[in-house]
């Protein structure tokens, strides 16, 4: 029983690092079998999984770990095979499905780890190996969560936002959407906070990349206040805002630009 508990614990720790990016989504985990191209353009969790993303590399590693153990032990029960293949398919279809992938991997991986631990000799070394693996995986999970943490909104920018009057929609850099919503209060709609439709996601991308019709698109969404990542993802849009006579910059520091519409 102890061995099984240790196996389950280790398997649970092993799947945690790939869940880092999902933790910051501020949304309930959901299952979609097909990735949406529009949403995939603005948020990594909607993309199909690939090995350039850390989560993709980790999932590949987990599948190979399970396979390596099963191959070496010459034992691959059908239920494990089904769980691993199903979990891998769901993860490949959409990174946001990885929570379910993790749930499916844990029993299969635990089963192989239990068998692997039983074959380890002498007994004294088992505990040490399991402890080392557990500590390593814990550190990996923490590192993954921290590495995928979106940049926060500086308090000065939040203060400027709180003093902005009006009830119209706010356009913001998506990773800051939660913080902006908090600063503006629940009654002010924030484009990018919560769920986006596929078409809204494409408009979000067009504005962020300074599409020729960016101002018309903002009007279409009823936006009169923007909070942009002027240093990186929305640098082109920030440059347009600064040059536009229709917009007044209220805050422009540390890579953050806050501007409001001055001409209807």
């Amino acid at each position: 029983v102890r061995r099984r508990v240790r196996g389950a614990l280790l398997a649970t720790l092993a799947v945690l690092p790939m869940l880092g990016p999902l933790l910051w989504e501020h949304a309930l985990p959901r299952l979609r079998l097909i990735s949406d191209a529009g949403l995939a353009a603005v948020t990594p969790v909607e993309q199909p999984l690939n090995v350039r993303a850390f989560a993709g590399q980790w999932e590949l590693l987990l599948v190979l770990a399970w396979f390596g153990l099963a191959y070496a032990q010459q034992r691959a029960p059908l239920w494990e095979l089904v769980l691993v293949l199903l979990g891998a398919s769901l993860g490949l279809a959409r990174l946001g499905n990885l929570w379910l992938t993790a749930v499916l991997y844990v029993p299969a991986l635990a089963s192989r780890l239990v068998a692997a631990e039983a074959s380890l000799q002498p007994i004294g070394r088992r505990g040490l190996l399991v402890a080392c693996a557990a500590v390593g995986l814990c550190l990996g999970s923490v590192a993954s969560v921290l590495a995928s943490r979106p940049p926060g909104l500086p308090s000065e920018a939040a203060r400027v936002l709180a003093s902005e009057p009006g009830q119209a929609t706010v356009f913001t850099n998506r990773p800051w959407a939660g913080a902006v919503q908090q600063a503006m209060g629940p009654n002010r709609p924030v484009l990018g906070a919560g769920d986006l439709s596929s078409e809204d996601a494409l408009d979000y991308l067009r504005v962020s990349l300074a599409h020729a019709n960016w101002d018309a698109l903002l009007r279409q969404h009823g936006v009169d206040l923007v909070v942009l990542d002027a240093a990186d993802a929305q640098a082109a849009a920030a440059a347009e805002m600064r040059a536009s006579p229709d917009w007044q910059v209220a805050f422009d520091r540390d890579g953050i630009l806050v501007a409001h519409r001055v001409r209807a």
Binding site: L85, L92, A212, E240
Partner: protein, 500 residues
């Protein structure tokens, strides 16, 4: 190879002389190899790479020297030397074109592909001794690569890769190392045909490592190491010497290619070939778990290395499809019963199948397929009208654009290289590495279109826009509404604007 003593052991055709001449075991490989030929032979040219390849060859023949610059496009070139490592492929393709036009180009490409899969089929039979299962594995490998079998320099590298796989397989399973000594010579050709020659090093490197580790002796790997050393030196036998290695390294690390070119994107299920690739990996892993044989260390290293390449980039799936067949055949062979000795020959049916294969081969030939009423209209053409700007190219031939740069849709640049150069130079043509990253970012900003599109067109002194009505639709709408531009041409596919 197909007629090895292991294949069809004990099969003694009974009955007519016809049955002896045309046993079933000859039809299986014929079917697979013919299938590998029919696909690329009957597909119209859609990918633009062949056009600048042909034009490069034509340029070298006309000028009598190596092409080491870019005379074809007008966008600013990258600084530093141009390593045209595909120069031999350009000459070969142009030579083939000179012999028989585009029909011959398609037929030659299809023949190279059929040869590649014939070699891999041979390797699979050598590794497993199971002909029909080898045919099945090779057919699956072919389907994995189907979208990457167009006429272009890389395709000429496939048969050479097939030779590498066959040579190592023979050395592994027959202890016959003679073919290994041919590989350095083939590497000289490969290094001058396409930058994928490093795949040959990987094949030999894995074999050397696999043999050395499994036998726990470096000496056991001597034939592979010698061939690898020969191939490393042979890859330097190019007009650019070590420059070809610089080219390969720069292609792999080019951020524009890595991040913006679909073909180089990491494999995911959003690509059809990606979904098929992952299914093949899953199938292979299940086979490995259930089979009664263990793969050799060399095979495991091959699968790991080429699997990683394929998962890292969509365009590398083709190598995976070629190298996985021998191992898959061995695994399948351990699960499926060996039954050819009991199968009864049906001579008449064999003749019917043989005739049908020949008929399909003939019907797929580019010279004949235009007369085939059963083929859909778009498949009867030599060139895909959906992917190639045939009409607007003809218009621009008779109505040359005014002086200044001609900004062209990226995917059409190759065809304009071939059909319209030197009347005008397209802005870019899909050879990503010959222009600096800023050119590509500007190209994307213009076509997006970003707020800066006007100033960028001014900065590049663009006088004419040749746009795709669908892909560049947003830009076309903005230009149409701009008094600074005047529309001079439009068809279902393209629209042309000049400065007003």
């Amino acid at each position: 190879v197909i007629a090895t003593e292991q294949v069809g052991v004990g099969v003694e055709p009974k009955g007519s002389q016809l049955a002896r001449w045309l046993p079933l075991r000859r039809l299986w490989p014929l079917l697979v190899i013919a299938g590998a030929f029919i696909g690329p032979a009957s597909n119209p040219i859609g990918l633009p790479d062949i056009w600048w390849t042909l034009q490069g060859g034509a340029w070298m023949v006309e000028h009598g020297r190596l092409l080491v610059s870019d005379p074809f496009t007008s966008a600013p070139p990258t600084s530093g030397p141009v390593y045209n490592v595909q120069w031999l492929a350009q000459l070969i393709y142009f030579g083939v074109f000179h012999l028989g036009g585009l029909e011959m180009v398609l037929t030659g490409t299809a023949a190279a592909i059929a040869l590649s899969y014939a070699l891999v089929l041979g390797a699979s039979v050598v590794a497993s001794g199971r002909l029909r299962l080898a045919c099945l594995s090779v057919a699956i490998g072919y389907l994995l690569a189907f979208s990457n079998l167009s006429p272009r320099p890389q395709t000429l590298a496939y048969p050479i890769f097939g030779c590498f796989v066959l040579a190592v397989t023979r050395a592994e399973w027959r202890r016959d190392t003679r073919l290994l000594w041919v590989l350095p010579g083939l590497m000289v050709v490969w290094a001058n045909v396409h930058g994928s020659f490093f795949a040959g090093w990987l094949v030999l490197g894995c074999a050397a490592m696999g043999r050395a580790l499994s036998e726990r002796s470096l000496r056991a790997a001597t034939p592979y190491l010698a061939a690898l050393l020969g191939c490393c030196l042979a890859a330097l036998v190019t007009p650019f010497g070590p420059g070809s290695l610089v080219y390969v390294a720069s292609m792999g690390s080019n951020p524009v290619i890595r991040d913006l070119v679909t073909e180089w994107a990491p494999t995911s299920v959003s690509f059809r070939e990606g979904a098929f690739f992952f299914a093949s990996v899953a199938g292979l892993l299940v086979l490995m778990l259930k089979a009664r044989v263990k793969l050799s260390l060399t095979e495991l290293l091959w699968l790991a290395v080429f699997g990683w390449l394929a998962i890292s980039s969509v365009r590398a799936i083709v190598w995976w499809g070629l190298i996985v067949a021998p191992s898959a055949t061995r695994l399948l062979g351990s699960l499926a019963a060996d039954s050819p000795s009991t199968s009864r020959e049906k001579p008449v049916l064999n003749v019917v199948i043989f005739t049908a294969i020949l008929g399909m081969l003939a019907a797929s030939l580019p010279w004949l397929k235009s007369e085939m009423p059963l083929l859909p209209e778009d498949k009867r053409a030599l060139v895909s009208a959906a992917d190639t700007p045939l009409q607007v190219s003809e218009y621009l031939r008779t109505n040359p654009p005014p002086p200044g740069r001609v900004f062209t849709h990226l995917a059409w640049g190759g065809y304009f290289d071939w059909a319209n150069w030197p009347t005008f130079q397209p802005f870019v043509d899909g050879r990503i590495e010959i222009h600096p990253a800023q050119v590509w970012l500007d190209y994307l900003t213009i076509t997006f279109p970003g707020a800066e599109w006007r100033s960028l067109l001014d900065r590049y002194a663009v006088s004419t826009l040749v746009l795709d009505r669908v892909a560049d639709g947003d830009l076309a709408n903005l230009v149409a509404a701009d008094p600074g531009w005047r529309q001079t041409y439009e068809d279902d596919q393209a629209v042309v604007f000049v400065r007003a």
